[in-house]
Each structure stands twice: as structure tokens, then as C-alpha cells.
Amino acid sequence: MKREMTGAKMVVQALKDQGVDTVFGYPGGAVLPIYDEIFLQNDIRHILVRHEQGAVHAAEGYARSTGKPGVVLVTSGPGATNAVTGITDALMDSIPIIVLTGQVPTFMIGSDAFQEADTVGITRPCTKHNWLVKDTDKLAETIHEAFHVATSGRPGPVLIDIPKDVQFATGTYVPPKPSTSHYQPKVKGDIEEITELVAAIEKAKKPVFYTGGGVINSGPGASQLLRELVDATGFPITSTLMGLGAYPASGANWLGMLGMHGLYEANMAMHDCDLLIAVGARFDDRITGRIDAFSPNSIKAHIDIDPSSINKVIKTDIPIVGDVAHVLEDVLKIWKSRGRKTQAEAVQKWHAQIDEWRKVNCLAYRPSEKTIQPQYALQRLEALTKGHDRYVTTEVGQHQMWAAQFMGFEDPNRWMTSGGLGTMGYGFPASIGVQIAHPEALVINVAGDASWLMNMQEMGTAAQYDLPVKQFILNNERLGMVRQWQELLHGSRYSHSWSESLPDFVKLAEAFGAKGIHCDDPAKLDDAIMEMIEHPGPVIFDCVVEKHANCFPMIPSGKAHNEMLLGDASTEGAIESGGAVLV
């Protein structure tokens, strides 16, 4: 049904027709007509953030915890440029986000008007696609196409720049219809390649699944199929940071996370395996370590919906382009029809070898009765929150790696972290987005003191909407990961890696009308965590931890999977000159 309406009304109508219930945004001159339409309706809830970067991260948290795209509405110029970090974060982690930006009126574009920026130009490299809409008649179909692009194939952020005169002008609204655009990524994998993977599964003596965020992006069905395949074959499975929860941490075949701060047994299995099945993972440099020593003796199969991921970093023997759920379904079907064969005895031996590696107990740390060890804090947080309907977000740094190591995720969409871009300041606004989507759930942001300060203005948002997000800050008064690298690489010269003049977090919470909890005593930690969980509103938990703890295990830059540093290892000279240039 076609209808005449203003561009601003069209925006709201199109969002409703796309099933959007929540928009994260911040108003400004160039989006006032759209904000006026938002004022006049009740179907779409607008969450007012305190900074546009926060809006995008909140939308990411919403998207990752629901599987639906997140929507952001910001103004022109600084509104758009402030959103760029969040948009880039979503691109790197393949999160579907629709960003609507206001723009100066079409007749002023190019005149250096007030709050004008070349938004489509600035965001071209950090969006999956973007549009500048100059004609109100094209607005509705562009928004519908934007949802199609953001959510099809490898998901990602898209941006629509809407000049103010286009918002005021009247045009014809068209409702969504199945996309007729040429952009229709292929989801079914090639059957010949899949059959070859099945044959490799049947022959493998030392197989390992290496899974990533693509499994989560493919939807809950993909995680279900992955679990079925892993448990039916009995193959061990590891995951990237982004893929945690696709296979349950309590599962029999779970190795823990792999990579730079991954578990010893996971990295050793990657190095020694004879069949590596990559599922929705992209061989990121945090995962591979030294490329020429990466899993030297394995056949590599790679399932990915993005053809450019295949052979980008690591040469693949069995490339399968397709959606994880579709491909895994076919793998299972073909494997079953051929008699569900594996080299069970050899795989058993392989598990025994892995158990030997497990005995290294790579996450061991020195407990203390005087100070809270960060690892201990997360172990207690895990133990005390495990039974809850729980979602965890993180900032970026040591606390993020410790959270990945010490917290277990039983389901997909429960773990939100900035993987590819490594954005400090992601976790707090992301936790707000998650809590908006899941009002009854326990939402915890595991943070470091430095990261958390980067978007602390969002306390205003948490307080305004009375969102009971728990900000669990491991406070070491340091930029912990930077400090660790300076110890390893720069002769312990701790250049600007400490937090001078930290706020009193309890008073800070109280200033926003929230609850603050301070704890620096291991003996009182459990009670303090329980107090945090039981408080019905937002909490800032200032957990004062050991200041010089390093995050282990660690594959130093330029080293291979089997050259890991374990806890208490000497870090002197751990990174050689060749690795020093790497980040």
C-alpha cells in the first residue's frame, strides 16, 4: 500500500515495518523532523544516550544479544563523526547495525554549512554500505534495502545519510518487500567441497574444530548444529573470543578459547592437529600467531560466508563458502548418510594427549589472602552468577582476556565483546543495549578502570532508564595490558600506562543516583558480589585488584602456538626484535 507522507514520517514508518522496537540516539539540528515524528508515536522506544559512540555500542549490544539488527539515530557533523568508532567496531565484528544520520539540506551540501560533514565519505570504508538519500521518494526503499544489506551474507553496519529537506519533503512511502536487489549472498555451500570435508572428518586422527563469531551470527540454529556435529564426532573444539557460547563451556569436547591469551591445550591442539575445521572464523592475527608456523601439519577446511576470508591469511585445503548453519546441516546429512564414520580410537588417543596438556593447568595463578587477584575476582563472579539469566559484556584489555578465560558461556548471544577493533569503551554502552533488550536479565560489564572511564558518561543513560547494569570494574589503577606489554617489550618503562586521579567510584555512582560498592578484601568479595547482584538498580563495583598481574598464558608477538608463555614465566626477552613491530 503506497502512501504519501513526509520523509521524517517515512523513517519512523519504515522502522516500524522492519519490526524495530528500539532506537538508540541523540538529537540535533539535522534530525529534528525525525525526532518530532518519534515524539508523536509510541511504537518505537527511543533510548537517549549521552554520546553517539555510546549509541552505536548500545545498538551492538542489543543486536548481539537478540540476533536482530540494532538501530542508531544521530545528527549530522559531530553526531556522525562521533559514531564512527562504533560503526568501525561493528564492521570488524560483523554486527548488523543501521545508522541513520541527519545531514544539512541538499542545497547546502558542499558549502561547509554548520554541522556539515561528508558523512558518506567518512563512513565509506567503515560501513558495509552507505547511502545519501537526496529524494524523499527513494527514502523508504533505501531504508528497507539497508536492512537487507546489513543482515544478509556477512552482517555489518550500514548508514543512511538523510538531508533535512528530504525529511521535510513529502513523498511516496513503499512498505518492505522481499529484496529484488542483485545483492543476494550465497548461503548454501558447494556439495563437492562439503563431501570432501566429510571424507577428511572420517580420516582424521587429530582433528579440531576452530569456531568463531560467524557461528553466532548465523543464528541459534547454527550453534545447535555445531553442538550436534561436535558431540556426534567427539572432536575437540576451541573458539575465538567472538565465538564463545556457540559450544557450551561445560561440553565434554570443549578446549576453551584459543589464541594469544587462549588456553594451552587449545593452542597446542591447533598446532599439532591433522585436521583443522574453521567454522565462521577468520584466522585473525590474535589467533594464528606466527603464520609460517601455524598448524603446520593439518588439512585446513574453512567454512565462511565471505569468500574474501578464505585464503586471506592461511591457505585453505577445503574452502566452503556458505552460511554456517546451511553448511553444517549438509555436513551432518552427508556424514550420517555415509555411516557416521570417525577414527574413534585415534581420536580417543588425541583426547588423551589433550588431557596431558590440560594438566599444565595454564590458568593457574598465585592466590593471595591480602589482595584480590583479578583472576580470583572473575572466578568468584562466575561462580556466583552462573545460575542466573546472565549476559556479559566487556571493555578491552587484560580484564577482557581474563573474563574469556575464567567465565563459561553455555549459550550463544550471551557474550558481547569488542574483538576485531579492540575498542576500549565498548562494554558499558553495550551492556545498556543488552539490558534494554533483556530487562529482566542480569547484565554485567566486566571492565578495567581505564576502559570504563572512556564512556562513563553513559551512567546518565543507565540512571535515566533505571537499567540495572552491573559495572564490575577490575581496578588496578593501570592500563593493564599496555603495562604488560611495556614490561615485556620496553624494559618495564611504564610510559603513561597508569591511571592517575581516578574518581572515587562509589561517590561517582552515588552522584548519578546509582549504587557504588567498593571491595579490596578477598574475604569480603563474595558478599560484595552478592550485594551487587541483589541490588535492583545500576551498580558500579569498584573491585580493587593486584596492580601488576600479567595475563597468561600468552603467545608473544611473532611466536607460534607451541611457544606460549605460562604464568610466572620470565617475560624478559619474550618478544624478539622481529615480533616487536607487531601489535
Binding site: 565519505g121 558447494d190 567441497e193 569468500p307 574474501s308 578464505i310 585464503n311
Partner: protein, 186 residues
């Protein structure tokens, strides 16, 4: 519409069935990209090359299907086989890109470039320039008593050769279009 007479969905070049052996030797490839002629599409393609550090030796673009609003971009690039495969895969990811064809792999292809050259001089040099232009089948498109402007079409190395010959004869300016290319045969 011969420019679009490329079989759709050709996979000979694609990552869908890619089994490369990585080599360090740099190769020159001519890639044809069919794109929707929408604002910013050229910037997307060029931004991809600069952002990911790929080479562009030559790039030409023009709308070739006015009703379907499709443009054809011809890019000559160099890189190791792995980089060339990445370039094609990355081009294929751009939303308004319809099709990517590696004419060097799918070839043989006809490659042509047009150049116009200004040669200034008198006497023997002027006569020699005209004589060489005749050999190269270059046309005179502008003439004064002191200068010629030649128009020449051909493969890039033919144009290079002609320009090299003109240099001592008074070549002052040259403008080249970059390569346009089509697969041979039907």
C-alpha cells in the same frame, strides 16, 4: 551490448572453488568489474585499493549500459597470486558490484588504450615524427607549423614504444586513457 557479454557467475576466477598455490612472484592482471552506476561507487573501488594497499596501474570507468545503469571498470593491477585473489574477493564484497572478471585468467583478452601526444619541432624531426606516426597508424588530429597532436590506439606497450620514439623528436605532452579490455572470442 558486447561489454556485458560475459557469462554471469563465471567461477573460474572465484574463491568459491579456489585452490591456489601461493607464490611470491608478482603478476599483472586486468580485472573487469561491473558495477551499479551509483554515486560513490568509484570511490568505493579506489578506497578498497588504497585502504588495503593494493596497486593500481591503470583504471578506466564509464557507463556501458544506460538502461541498467551499469558501469564497467577496468583495472590493471599487480600482485602475488594470493593478493590478486584477495583483490577479486574484496571487489566482490562491495555491495553495488555485480560481477568481477579476471581477464588475465579467463583470457585471452584484447587490451586497448588510447593516447594523444603533442610533438613540437621543425625540420627533419618533424618529418621523422610524421613518418613514425604513419608506421604506428597514429592519426594527426591537430597541426600547426611547429607541432602535431597524434592520436594513437593500441596495447599499452605499443603506446609506450611510440612515446619513447617521439621523446627525442620533441614530445612535450601525453594523455592516456588507461586500458579497456574484452575477452576474445564469443
Amino acid at each position: 551490448m558486447s561489454a556485458l557479454h560475459i557469462k554471469k557467475g563465471s567461477t573460474r576466477h572465484s574463491a568459491y572453488n579456489l585452490r591456489p598455490t601461493f607464490s611470491d612472484v608478482e603478476e599483472r592482471h586486468t580485472i573487469a568489474v561491473l558495477v551499479e552506476n551509483e554515486p560513490g561507487v568509484l570511490a568505493r573501488v579506489i578506497g578498497l585499493f588504497s585502504g588495503r594497499g593494493y596497486n593500481i596501474e591503470s583504471l578506466t570507468v564509464a557507463e556501458v549500459d544506460h538502461t541498467g545503469h551499469l558501469s564497467r571498470i577496468t583495472i590493471v593491477t599487480t600482485g602475488t597470486p594470493q593478493v590478486i585473489e584477495q583483490i577479486k574477493a574484496q571487489l566482490g564484497r562491495i555491495v553495488p558490484v555485480h560481477d568481477v572478471h579476471d581477464l588475465t585468467v579467463e583470457g585471452p583478452a584484447v587490451e586497448r588504450e588510447l593516447a594523444i601526444l603533442k610533438v613540437v619541432g621543425q625540420g627533419d624531426k618533424r618529418v621523422e615524427a610524421l613518418r613514425l606516426a604513419d608506421i604506428f597508424r597514429a592519426n594527426v588530429v591537430d597541426s600547426t607549423l611547429n607541432s602535431f597532436v597524434f592520436e594513437i590506439t593500441g596495447a599499452p606497450d605499443k603506446i609506450d614504444a611510440f612515446a619513447d620514439l617521439m621523446r627525442p623528436l620533441g614530445l612535450t605532452e601525453i594523455a592516456r586513457t588507461g586500458v579497456a579490455a574484452l575477452l576474445r572470442g564469443d
